[in-house]
Every structure is written in structure tokens, then in C-alpha cells.
């Protein structure tokens, strides 16, 4: 793995480990959800695009969780972290584990996450931890394409037929309470921000609001009021859905312990 830089010396490794899990679990769980669509998308081009996005996200997972394992220093690989933790040890946003719903809901979830992911990765490119900056650099290229695509589709479907508009509005209203978690600071975030490793989540809200607001307006969709926001994912308190995701995802590693594949 990458070597330690000057910056890490100053940073609590537990805080850094948690941070890296959040990044990697976000991409792992969303990648899992997208891959559930395989062969079931409403158009062949969408099958291809979803598989491609999932592929990018799984690739990013390998990098984030690989670094997490290195930072933890207990010899856990990215695979160990992906396949041998139970739900309460996962740190992904609740948004990313929401069920796929119809294709509109999947796209809306993707857009809301992509918008955050894009802004956050861009900020991480300036991380004082060069390992993080490097991963962010690679990932942000992929994610700016994800965002371009999901944003475009949200606009087209929002401003499409009455039915597509209604479905996209419904998806937005359902998913909205899961967006607040992206901007909630955890205790460890201040430490990381002070060390220049990662920006505090709350700081991205204004930019995200602008990007999302502008898109929704172009999509003729009504942005929901702020309202009550769900939380818990970053602390390992998830929804009932994550357990089922992991039961599938981890089956082989659990059923055949120690086997190599």
C-alpha cells in the first residue's frame, strides 16, 4: 500500500479509518444496488450505463477499503472489509442502501448522491493526505461523468410526460429525507478538517443546494422543503435493508471461510 505521508502523522488513525470506510462503503453499497438492475433496465443503453457506473464504484471501493485496511494496520484487505463486516460496522449513507424502486427512483438516488460525491471528491483532490488526493483524483473523473448522466436523465424525465414527471417527483420526495445525512458532521470530521485531510461535510451544503436546485428547476421538479432528515448510516445504525444486502453479498465468503477465489 501507499506509504505514510507527513499529514497522517498528525491525524488520529481511527478517525481516518472511519472516514475511509465511509467513502468505500458508499461506493460498495451503491454499486451493489446498481448491479441488481443487471439485465432488467428499461433500455439496453441503460443496462450498459448502469453496469459501467457500478463497475466504477466497485473499483473505487477497492481503493478506499484497501487504504482503510492499510491505515487500520491489522492486516485486513479490502475484501476482508467488504465481506466480513456485519451491518453495524458499515458506514455508508442510508441513501445508498435505499431499495431500487422503479428506474426513476434509482436515477434520482444516483443524482442526489452523484452531486454530493462529485463535490466531495473534488475537494478531496486537495487533501493533505496524498493517498486520498490520488484516489479522489482518479474517482472524480469517473464521477463527473456519472453526474453528467444522472443529471441529464433527471432533467429529461422530470420534463418528459406527466407520468415520468410524477414518478420523478415521487422519487425525489421519498428520497429527500435521506439527503441531510451527507452534510452532518461527525466528531471525527473536525479532526480531519483541521489536518486538511477532508473538508467538513456541512461545508458542501451550499454548493450542493445550488447544483441540485438548478437541476430540479430545469427538470420542472419541486424541491421539497428541508424537513426532518434521517441519519445513522455514518455511525453504523442502518435501515432494515442493509442486512439483506449483506446476506447476499457476503454469502460465499461467509459460507466458505478462508477459501480464495
Amino acid at each position: 500500500m501507499a506509504e505514510a505521508t507527513v499529514a497522517d502523522a498528525a491525524v488520529d488513525p481511527t478517525a481516518l479509518f472511519e472516514f475511509l470506510l465511509r467513502m468505500g462503503d458508499n461506493t460498495l453499497i451503491l454499486g451493489h444496488r446498481l448491479s441488481e438492475w443487471c439485465g432488467h433496465a428499461p433500455a439496453l443503453e441503460e443496462d450498459i450505463a448502469l453496469a459501467n457506473t457500478a463497475l466504477d464504484l466497485i473499483g473505487q471501493t477497492q481503493l478506499w477499503l484497501g487504504l482503510a485496511g492499510a491505515v487500520e494496520g491489522k492486516g485486513r484487505s479490502a475484501d476482508d472489509l467488504a465481506f466480513l463486516r456485519d451491518a453495524c460496522e458499515f458506514r455508508n449513507l442510508l441513501l445508498n442502501e435505499r431499495p431500487n424502486g422503479d428506474f426513476g427512483k434509482t436515477l434520482m438516488r444516483q443524482f442526489l448522491f452523484d452531486a454530493w460525491h462529485h463535490l466531495f471528491l473534488n475537494a478531496l483532490r486537495l487533501s493533505s493526505d496524498t493517498r486520498i488526493a490520488e484516489i479522489a483524483g482518479k474517482a472524480s473523473k469517473e464521477v463527473s461523468y456519472h453526474l453528467e448522466r444522472s443529471r441529464d436523465l433527471v432533467i429529461r424525465l422530470g420534463d418528459g410526460t406527466a407520468e415520468s414527471h410524477g414518478r420523478m417527483q415521487g422519487a425525489l420526495d421519498d428520497l429527500w429525507p435521506y439527503t441531510g445525512e451527507m452534510f452532518m458532521n461527525e466528531a471525527s470530521d473536525a479532526v480531519l478538517a483541521a489536518a486538511g485531510v477532508a473538508p467538513e461535510p456541512a461545508g458542501l451544503k451550499t454548493e450542493w443546494d445550488a447544483l441540485v436546485g438548478e437541476t430540479l428547476s430545469e427538470a420542472t421538479l419541486k424541491e421539497p422543503a428541508e424537513g426532518y432528515m434521517q441519519k445513522g448510516g455514518k455511525r453504523g445504525i442502518h435501515t432494515e435493508h442493509l442486512g439483506y444486502i449483506l446476506a447476499d453479498m457476503q454469502f460465499l465468503q461467509r459460507a466458505y471461510p478462508g477459501a480464495t477465489w
Partner: protein, 315 residues
């Protein structure tokens, strides 16, 4: 018919036929049937492999499988485009798939029951597909030939990846090795059936051969496949589930048993283990996605109208 004669001469000379050129109706129809069936197979083929993406055992294997399935959807796309050059639309082809009029490769009506099946599909199913497809790179119809060149390159990559899955497993625990043998037991015969029944008697085949749409007999290709695959199975330490399999020094190839053609025709008739589910999944995807496609169309129309409005205003 002089037109037909000159057409056949061009083919005999190894020239490619291109979309806007004259061609016999039978040639067009045969190609549409074959290319669309091939395209449908790529699309339906996403389902058995997609079944294991969420359960792939490592992140690396998951990524490889995602990339593979994405390639297959891509192959579907090239092939639909190639067929469209013959004057049929993609929606018409879907309609034929969904109504059951058009077929897809019967192999995808078998279930993927373990992770070893993902390896076996790469090794055997892609292996058999390549055996069928390599000659099609020299097909007389230009767009099909070019699509096959691109596809064959990726397929042989997939085949190696499938073999690699199995290599890793046979070197693993006894349970993993047993899983691989079990996969071979289930996929061996259906793979042999992928070449179709013996075509000695088929007039259909003779015409396709003359048109250079088809270049080898089913039995030739099957023999070639067996000869290539048996040593690979031995390398993996596996037993081919055919008591009649035996090296024949004289012919320089293997003798082997007859597949259960009764099973083949049952699967073709819709009675395979997964026919209802595969076709059902595709129909459902299409029906559930209607609003999505309509939404995009409506948006495009609105945009066109807006542009037209702007232009009119600017005049």
C-alpha cells in the same frame, strides 16, 4: 436470375455485401433471423451471469463480472445495429423476442447455481460461442462480419477469465473443487448442444453455406470444441461427464457420446429450467420501462418544438 447469379459470384469471390446493395430476400431474412437471435442471446445472457454479480466472492471478481456483462450488452448493441442495416428496427426485434417469435440461445435457459457456473459459462459457453463465431468474422455480410471481429476479441478475453475462475477454485478447498466438477457436469451437455443438432440433412444449412453466412457444419464445430476442451478439463483435473469420451488416434480427435436431443428440443419448446423466467424478466423490463422511454421521447419532442419556436421567433 442474373442479379442472383452476380450476387453469388461476388460472394464466391470473397467480396463483402454492404447494407445498401441488392441482396436476395432469403439472404436478408436469414441474416436478420441469425443476427437478431444472436443479439437477443447477448441480452438474455446478461441474466444468468447477472444473477451472481451481487454475490461475487471478491471485489475483483465482481468488477470483472460487471465488465463482462457490460461487454455483452455492448455486443447486443452492435448486433442490433448490424441487423438494423437490413431494414428491421430494434423495437421490432424486441417485439419478436417478447412474443416468442424470435429465439435466443437455449443455453441461457439453464440456471446459474453456484459461483463455479460463472467460470463454466466463461470457459464452456463462451468457448462454444467463439467456436461458432470465429468463422462468422468472414461472413459475407459486411456489418455482421465487422461486428463479429470486435465481439470475438472480447469473447476470448471472457473465456480466459472464466477459465481463470475455475483454475483458482480447483486449486482451492475440496468444496470448491467439487463445485467446479458439479458445474462441468451440468454445463457440459448443454454446451455441446449449442452447436445444434447434426445438420447433414439440412437444406437450410446448405444455402447458408453457399451464401457464406455459415461456414462449417454443426458437427465439425462440435468436434473442434470437444477436441479443444477435453485437454483443458484434464488440466483442471476434472472429469468430463461422458463415459463414451475417448481419444480416437485415427481421426485425430475425440469420440464422444450423443447429447440428449430430447432435452434440447424440450428447452427449445420452452420447457427448460428457466425459459419462463428469462423471457418473463425481459418482458417485464420492457413493460416496466415504457414510461421511461416515453418520457425521453416526450422531452426530445418538447426540445425540438422549443428549438423550432426559437428559430421562428428569431426570423
Amino acid at each position: 436470375d442474373p442479379q442472383e447469379r452476380s450476387f453469388q459470384e461476388r460472394i464466391d469471390q470473397g467480396q463483402k455485401i454492404e447494407p445498401k446493395e441488392w441482396m436476395p430476400e432469403g439472404y436478408r431474412k436469414t441474416l436478420i433471423r441469425q443476427i437478431s437471435q444472436h443479439a437477443h442471446s447477448e441480452i438474455v445472457g446478461q441474466l444468468p451471469e447477472g444473477n451472481w454479480i451481487t454475490r461475487a466472492p471478491t471485489l475483483e471478481r465482481k468488477a470483472i463480472l460487471l465488465a463482462k456483462v457490460q461487454d455483452e450488452a455492448g455486443h447486443g448493441l452492435y448486433l442490433y445495429c448490424a441487423a438494423e442495416t437490413l431494414g428491421i428496427s430494434r423495437d421490432e426485434m424486441y417485439e419478436q423476442l417478447h412474443s416468442g417469435k424470435a429465439k435466443y440461445s437455449s443455453i441461457f435457459n439453464y440456471p446459474t447455481l453456484t459461483w463455479a457456473d460463472i467460470g463454466a459459462i466463461g470457459w464452456l459457453v463462451d468457448g462454444a460461442a467463439i467456436m461458432n463465431q470465429v468463422p462468422l468474422q468472414r461472413c459475407s455480410y459486411g456489418p455482421y462480419s465487422r461486428a463479429m471481429i470486435r465481439i470475438c476479441k472480447e469473447e476470448s478475453f471472457h473465456q480466459r477469465q472464466g477459465f481463470d475462475i475455475l483454475m483458482k477454485m480447483v486449486k482451492g478447498t475440496p468444496a470448491q473443487k467439487a463445485m467446479v466438477q458439479d458445474a462441468l457436469n451440468r454445463w457440459w451437455w448443454p454446451s455441446l448442444m449449442m452447436f445444434g443438432p447434426s445438420d447433414d440433412a439440412s437444406v437450410h444449412s446448405a444455402q447458408s453455406m453457399a451464401w457464406k453466412i455459415k461456414q462449417n457444419s454443426n458437427d465439425e464445430l462440435r468436434q473442434k470444441f470437444v477436441d479443444q476442451t477435453v485437454p483443458q478439463a484434464e488440466y483442471l483435473g476434472l472429469t468430463i461427464p461422458d463415459p463414451k469420451l475417448e481419444w480416437n488416434e485415427e481421426k485425430g480427435g475425440y469420440d464422444f457420446g450423443e447429447p440428449d436431443w430430447n432435452e434440447f428440443f424440450e428447452v427449445l419448446a420452452g420447457n427448460g429450467p428457466c425459459n419462463a423466467e428469462r423471457l418473463g424478466a425481459r418482458r417485464k423490463a420492457w413493460a416496466d420501462g415504457a414510461w421511461f422511454r416515453d418520457g425521453l421521447t416526450a422531452y426530445a419532442e418538447k426540445q425540438a418544438a422549443r428549438r423550432a419556436g426559437n428559430e421562428a421567433a428569431a426570423e
